[in-house]
Homo-oligomer: 240 residues x 6
Amino acid sequence: MRADGRAIDELRPVTIERGWSDQAEGSALISCGRTKVLCTASFTNGVPRWMSGKGKGWVTAEYAMLPRSTNERMAREAVKGKIGGRTHEISRLVGRSLRAVVDMKALGENTIVIDCDVLQADGGTRTAAITGAYVALFDALEWGREQKFIGQKAQPLTDSVAAISVGIVKGVPMLDLAYTEDSSAQTDMNVVVTGRGSFVEVQGTAEGAPFDRAELNSLLDLALAGTVTLTELQNAALGR
Amino acid sequence: MRADGRAIDELRPVTIERGWSDQAEGSALISCGRTKVLCTASFTNGVPRWMSGKGKGWVTAEYAMLPRSTNERMAREAVKGKIGGRTHEISRLVGRSLRAVVDMKALGENTIVIDCDVLQADGGTRTAAITGAYVALFDALEWGREQKFIGQKAQPLTDSVAAISVGIVKGVPMLDLAYTEDSSAQTDMNVVVTGRGSFVEVQGTAEGAPFDRAELNSLLDLALAGTVTLTELQNAALGR
Amino acid sequence: MRADGRAIDELRPVTIERGWSDQAEGSALISCGRTKVLCTASFTNGVPRWMSGKGKGWVTAEYAMLPRSTNERMAREAVKGKIGGRTHEISRLVGRSLRAVVDMKALGENTIVIDCDVLQADGGTRTAAITGAYVALFDALEWGREQKFIGQKAQPLTDSVAAISVGIVKGVPMLDLAYTEDSSAQTDMNVVVTGRGSFVEVQGTAEGAPFDRAELNSLLDLALAGTVTLTELQNAALGR
Amino acid sequence: MRADGRAIDELRPVTIERGWSDQAEGSALISCGRTKVLCTASFTNGVPRWMSGKGKGWVTAEYAMLPRSTNERMAREAVKGKIGGRTHEISRLVGRSLRAVVDMKALGENTIVIDCDVLQADGGTRTAAITGAYVALFDALEWGREQKFIGQKAQPLTDSVAAISVGIVKGVPMLDLAYTEDSSAQTDMNVVVTGRGSFVEVQGTAEGAPFDRAELNSLLDLALAGTVTLTELQNAALGR
Amino acid sequence: MRADGRAIDELRPVTIERGWSDQAEGSALISCGRTKVLCTASFTNGVPRWMSGKGKGWVTAEYAMLPRSTNERMAREAVKGKIGGRTHEISRLVGRSLRAVVDMKALGENTIVIDCDVLQADGGTRTAAITGAYVALFDALEWGREQKFIGQKAQPLTDSVAAISVGIVKGVPMLDLAYTEDSSAQTDMNVVVTGRGSFVEVQGTAEGAPFDRAELNSLLDLALAGTVTLTELQNAALGR
Amino acid sequence: MRADGRAIDELRPVTIERGWSDQAEGSALISCGRTKVLCTASFTNGVPRWMSGKGKGWVTAEYAMLPRSTNERMAREAVKGKIGGRTHEISRLVGRSLRAVVDMKALGENTIVIDCDVLQADGGTRTAAITGAYVALFDALEWGREQKFIGQKAQPLTDSVAAISVGIVKGVPMLDLAYTEDSSAQTDMNVVVTGRGSFVEVQGTAEGAPFDRAELNSLLDLALAGTVTLTELQNAALGR
């Protein structure tokens, strides 16, 4: 039994508030248990100068945590004057994950910037960010279509994408680690999966003892099942 | 008549969600029309080394905007690697405003860091930050008292504090400017007032034509009336 | 009686050395008691790319202190690698104050950068900077006219501008605070006034006890009288 | 057939020059084809203040590329004044990979800093860095034992560790990608494996089309075979 | 004949205003023609922690230029967020030059920070800085002796120090280059000499054609003669 | 007798591995005793925008040390986020030294960036960098000629250039100081000399007692003899 009473293959309660922001072209506030991430997608017609003339668009992402999203207040990266390694790493992961389901030709010469700001953190912030960002991205693309920056027949999205963490805690593989589980896990894995069930990213790390192939397989089984549910929740939020 | 139908001496609808954060010792999500600011107060027992041994505490504040809180996405200050002048200026204003109602001796050797993060911006973010931060500060002090870091009889708060913007738009002094009003104002003033009605800060700036003493007086009248209402809303949120 | 024997409504001795610099288009070394600020105005024909084609000019300002302008040496901001909040705040104040008396259309597509470097500090550096910078600005505009970058009939200056600090020390409102007065003031106010007597900026801050409306009025009376004198000194320096 | 004539499951020629540096406590210059990485391990008796008194040591790593290690010169991160996301990500990966085979209790209160500087880059620099750094780490630990900073019977190393890249190029899974292969790969995976054959890290990324479970398994098979060979080469270099 | 009518072995007019600053323990405003440098020496009892307990003091220096000291305004290094190579180089030169005439044992555990801020620049700013800084240093040491931070019989100064630039312009070696001469010089040399006539620094650079040994000797002859005069002016300023 | 048995006018063993890098247009790994510096020259057709249209090229240089090139590990400048004064100073010296033998008109609108990375340091790294960089520069220019970016008859090199350190250790002038000699030298001098025997730079610094003219002359004699040998070694490496 887990601290919060969940089964080992059970997700925390997930809610996705689509269109949370009045300002952004697309947005979603996603909650996974106590983890809350505000995801916005900003659509700009045009691409940076070095990309122009190629008929292709660009999608990029930035991830950050509010200083008191965590149990102990963290110093702001803006105050420290530099971005930490973890922030960089996650921003890059979110960007790659979303680009994996975007056809840049169909997007045309448009730029989308995803911002994922963690308002409250209790484990799984990077995977919640990806899952929420997909919803924001979807709406920003619809906005671009309405504004006729994207052609009426173009299909920039080739699939949906969602992500979940899995890990081995006290020898037991489990789904969707909360912070206390994550910080005591021997192995921690983040898995990004498309709506059709293919992998975009598999990032497994032995924090304690190395893991063997059987354990890797158990973790992937859990992650694939979890992302099926997340895909359904994304579709429900999008009214599909 | 104003764009949103308000009278010239009318505040936008204000809501204060006390205790929004599960992590911080005190918190409030304040909304003033479309402006939304998440305020947290982080309590730490002890003070920085250079202050220790004096029997006094410290209160400081940081203000920031999410990149897509605004109509056009702004680059993150962490990414630019430096904090802009406006951010610095507002962080300092918020900190001074709260310190004005704290008795540092009664606080004892404890530190409170206020974070005001603008989730959505539509004018008046700095004054909303101060008004919301007072609620967060109140709860953080109560927490400190429960934890016995503050003496049972100590009264660190000497008063409450709230703030509002006023300005002259097309020759007419008005209360609580929304973004479109603020950006066309000739004169813009932020006023920070205690619950008992004294000034903590008066910051008036002629963005266009200079203002005379009669105009200054009209603006102060509006601001004093507006902060009376805000004080009532703070008390209501705090159940007093 | 004040420490230096002045009456409460008396300015310190003020001198303005116009044309102190051989290099700048306009310059003034202003002394207010022991406070000395070197103000230069650098005139550039043309505006930054993002402003061009609008037929308007731009005036901006930077303020800084030499490391040993103060009683204790301060670390250089260039060495620390970042500009502090106070510096930012004052640079912005100086820029806004001068822009308030410049007609950007009449200036035409020209840029003026004001530099105010505090050589010695004894209170009132920001207000001395504004008062001296006006003289430097005047001469830079004349230079621009001589060079025919500004039209012969254009009147970029709509008024003059000067500034002074006032404050409440031990319950007594007084004019032009020296450093020791400033550091023990309950309330500190900087007031920027045009030659015709309108306000450009009113920035009052309660460092100790909040202030009431009567006190605010006393401070404004002192400031308005003081800036009348400063305006006369500016005119004398400019030979008008 | 691959561009350089290798079989799909064939490593590039690998050489490990142990003790390349006269200055470091442990060092190795590893070449994998044209990729050359200088790895040093710096041993310091003692740990940072925040870790002291716990009887445990610390191992950390930094990765960097010389500006002309690549085909086009890259700007130096020191000149840009900040470290890029990729550099951070790899430094963290190298550090985690080595810590996975170190018993921090057995290391005692000693600190080891690994530096991996890429002198020439042709793909696989991060995995070469890990493989070479293990050899440098081994010698630095021996040095610590000789100096009696580590107990004579303590066994800080619990296993060896090596790493290799694998990927899917034009639909074909292959081992040890050179730069031209890597830049055209659909899926790219870095695998870190202990001498006993367990996983420390599995990082697979779909750069183009997402990958399925069968492809993941093929890549893991290749990686496990490749790291067996690398482990043998490490042992040979260490004379074991 | 030179542009300003000087002989090739003639210094520009030099004035040294000793005690220019009311704040610093020692100060001098030195003018060499149109070049003006404000030099202050800040005396602190005690040394940085890493030096304490050795019975020795420390002297360090920082050099900077005001943004409009030059004919074209330069961006502030504080605004750019980093210190340029030239500034670093000159700060180091000034510090070394002064340390060369200080007996750190006789200084005792005291720290002196020299600040040389160029108010107006017309060539020779680094050598003027050294020559003026010596006067400021002298007075700061006297101050330290009066305060009894330095022993009554200790002689921290082992000699005086002054500096001058020389160069080859259109094939002619000349003394004390003004800016227009310096920018067209083939060879430029800065020479730092003690009062007794020994070299502390000789820094010669061929900006155009390399120079031969005869030219080097001519330049050294000029510099040695020039620094004899500067030493006399320093002594006169110090009333010796 | 010196610690390593050399005569006072004897160089350490020097080797120059021309073409060490597969990536750069020109490269050399130079060893002077235990000092090893990797020098690369990167050739780019074209010049920065501000230089274009003048028919001239540009040569610039950057110098850096690997963190464990030294006996004690140094923090990386990229990690510290700023470049130190010494690094700046040496980068500028290397650039000036090479530009002294390049005819920028003959180079045409092409840019060469020299990188000198110290792999192992034992004194004399800056002079080794200059001596090695000349070889790299030579080959990069040949490459530019082969690519027809430089005219077939153009002679961008006007001479060769080499550098050596000399110093006074325990009163004795000596050639090519190793680290332990350098750190105890009273006077330290770096001399940059062309193949024809003229000076490009003479930088002598009294670290301890000032030096007189006779000592200066002895040091220059040693340096001129040493650079004759280095010039021969450069020619041998280049097969001339």
